[in-house]
């Protein structure tokens, strides 16, 4: 065992890269849930975003357009969910699960022509001067634009929810849709917008995987990241900065276990591989045991269908 071979600076930098897809998906889902909608289709939207982004990037040879395509793809898929749950009032849990299965299937179908294809390279953003600062430079200033965008989205969501009128309306819809409706807010329209935002974020997260982290297209390449994103929203008790913490923590475990292995640490690999999921379950158990706290933070109308006549 040779722990000294793990460079903490590189580890943290790798951790940020590994966590970005989950972070993007989770922050999108947070907004959706804040609006009172439970969309369990994150995995499906991520994988759809992954292939849409990949396809667009390959066809146009432009990664930026790829990410836009991914966001549109994820949003389009989420609007199917929105239409079914908001207008046809279908069950949100069942529809969300179906969306995941549908997303996995349709992405595999679109992806047939893209197996083994190389996407255009997304350049790292080397910020002059700042990226040369020891320690902080490699950790903070040598990533690609998407990493900063994901952080920007977290900050934006936090500010929006906390300080703006739009955020207040969104939260009102999520806490009590009847009251919001009585005040004249278009509950369904607001929820549709939130759902589309969530889909776009999940799509970006997926494209981050297929365009930057791997970069390659493979069927089912999200490999459960969407589920972890869902768990992180609960773990973070619907608070944006805690989503950031949660995502880096979970992303970190994956990277850490590979690094510990490479350093020759004697820990059974199976345990390390299952650790993110184990911790997710643990967190969920702890959260649900502490009823008062969880109830304090969960949007009151989460998962409840809304119809203007009721």
């Amino acid at each position: 065992m040779d722990l000294s071979s793990i460079d903490p600076i590189l580890l943290i930098a790798a951790l940020i890269v590994a966590a970005t897809p989950i972070l993007l998906a989770a922050i999108g889902e947070l907004v959706v849930e804040k609006a009172g909608v439970l969309n369990l289709g994150v995995e499906g939207m991520m994988i759809t975003g992954a292939i849409c982004g990949f396809a667009v990037a390959v066809e146009t040879q432009n990664p930026a357009l790829g990410f836009i395509g991914a966001a549109l793809g994820g949003a389009a898929l989420s609007l199917i969910f929105g239409f079914l749950t908001q207008y046809l009032l279908s069950n949100q849990v069942a529809t969300g699960l179906a969306l995941t299965l549908f997303g996995l299937g349709i992405s595999a179908l679109i992806g047939q022509a893209y197996i083994g294809v190389k996407p255009p390279i997304t350049a790292d953003l080397d910020i002059p001067l700042l990226s040369d600062v020891p320690v902080i430079g490699p950790i903070l200033f040598q990533h690609n634009l998407m990493v900063y965008l994901s952080l920007g989205i977290v900050a934006g969501v936090w500010y929006l929810l906390k300080y703006t009128r739009v955020g207040l309306v969104l939260r009102a819809v999520g806490e009590n849709h009847d009251a919001a409706h009585a005040l004249g807010y278009k509950v369904v329209r607001i929820r549709m917008l939130a759902i589309a935002f969530g889909g776009a974020c999940a799509g970006l997260g997926g494209a981050y995987l297929s365009l930057i982290r791997v970069p390659q297209w493979t069927e089912g390449m999200t490999a459960g990241a969407g589920w972890i994103a869902l768990a992180i929203v609960v773990f973070a008790s619907w608070k944006p900065w805690r989503v950031l913490l949660g995502a880096y923590l979970f992303g970190g475990i994956t990277v850490l276990q590979l690094n510990l292995q490479a350093a020759g640490l004697k820990i059974p690999v199976e345990y390390l591989s299952m650790s993110p999921y184990l911790i997710t379950i643990l967190v969920l158990v702890i959260m649900s045991a502490d009823r008062s706290r969880a109830a304090l933070n969960a949007p009151a109308a989460l998962g409840r269908p809304f119809h203007a006549s009721s």
């Binding site: 071979s5 793990i6 460079d7 590189l10 580890l11 790798a14 890269v17 590994a18 197996i115 083994g116 190389k118 390279i121 995987l209 982290r213 791997v214 970069p215 390659q216 493979t218 069927e219 390449m221 490999a223 994956t254 990277v255 590979l258 690094n259 292995q261 490479a262 350093a263 020759g264 004697k266 059974p268 690999v269 199976e270 591989s273």
Partner: protein
């Protein structure tokens, strides 16, 4: 339909055997663990399938099912193939072993060929390639070329085939570079590009300047290229994914074997057998050596390939100790195939434990 049934009945009645009838093509099925577009392991098996089609034209009909998970799904796919009239079925992953044996028992008239396994039956053959011969060559090159003296190795599952590869590569790297160190990461998958990419990244972060992989995707090669380090391809030529990184690649060439076995079924001479071919018959081949390999190293590597071909050199030649220091092979002694086939120990010098 009716005519076909009649013909089949007639051929049976004449005792010719359905397979020999010109109008009734021999059906050959292939089960792949990854997508044919992995540009690694499954890709090469599919190339073998295409070679069979080319060799026999309309005398054969081939089918394949890709991305079949090891376990119950594999058994289902094989059963389906057997039921739909396949005469010969190639199951191309170690993890299909028990499924193959189980299905073969139910369909004694169908011939099965299982890659890299060790369980056989009257209608189940096994075949594999001596990848360790290739690994010896790339180990030699890696030992000569590493500057950080850290070689990263992305391993899939702790099975003899993979362990053999690690031992062979390490042994030959160590021979030419006593300071070389192998960092091994077990990813527990044959094909998961995201995980393989993360593993490659972790190894590079810890100082590896040459990567070897025993997984099927091109993700590690892509990462090596991106980070500007060197790497060896696996199973296929991965030069498209690492034009600057790939030093060479071990290529699995199954085509001659698949053609020969299909021919054997047609001739009625097929028998259960255990085939383990190496560089000499061409089952293990190499992609073009990169210009980055210095001329002398390249000459040595080519000499080693020749020596292995001619039988003058066996990659596991004593004196050799196991990891715990106990003696394995005496001076000049050569490892026997039985030990190699079931290899479950590291050789002396390797750090870490084989996960169990």
């Amino acid at each position: 339909m009716n005519i076909k049934t009649l013909l089949a009945g007639a051929t049976l009645a004449f005792g010719i055997g359905a397979a020999a009838h010109a109008d009734d093509p021999l059906k050959v099925g292939f089960v792949y663990v990854g997508p044919v577009g992995d540009y690694g392991w499954s890709y090469e098996h599919n190339e073998g399938r295409l070679a069979v089609e080319e060799a026999f034209g309309d005398k054969v009909e081939t089918t394949f099912v890709e991305s079949v998970p090891e376990g119950a799904d594999a058994e289902r796919v094989m059963t389906q193939m057997a039921l739909s009239g396949h005469d010969l079925i190639f199951t191309t992953s170690f993890g299909y072993m028990d499924s193959t044996i189980a299905v073969a028992e139910k369909f004694p008239d169908v011939k099965f060929e299982h890659a890299t396994g060790y369980k056989r039956a009257d209608n189940v053959s096994t075949y594999s390639a001596r990848f360790y011969e290739g690994r010896a060559v790339i180990g030699h090159i890696a030992g000569k070329m590493t500057e950080s003296n850290v070689v990263g190795y992305i391993a899939s599952f702790p099975i003899p085939e993979v362990i053999r590869g690690i031992n062979s590569a390490y042994l030959h790297a160590k021979k030419v570079n006593p300071d070389v160190e192998f960092r091994i990461v077990w990813v527990y998958t044959w094909f998961d590009p995201a995980k393989e990419a993360d593993a490659a990244q972790a190894l590079i972060d810890q100082g590896a300047d040459i990567l070897m992989q025993h997984t099927d995707s091109t993700a590690p090669m892509t990462i090596a290229e991106e980070k500007g380090i060197l790497a060896f391809g696996q199973a296929s030529d991965m030069i498209n994914f690492g034009p600057n990184s790939q030093l060479t690649s071990i290529i699995d060439n199954w085509a001659p074997y698949y053609v020969a076995r299909t021919q054997a079924v047609m001739d009625g001479t097929w028998e259960s057998a255990d085939t383990w071919d190496g560089i000499e018959p061409g089952m293990v081949a190499f992609a073009a050596m990169s210009d980055k390999i210095p001329a002398d190293v390249r000459a040595e590597a080519e000499q080693m390939i020749e020596d292995i071909k001619s039988g003058a050199y066996h990659p596991f030649t004593g004196p050799l100790n196991k990891q715990d220091g106990s003696a394995w092979l005496g001076e000049g002694e050569v490892a026997d195939d039985g030990t190699l086939a079931g290899m479950n120990f590291y050789i002396e010098g390797l750090a870490g434990d084989i996960p169990s």
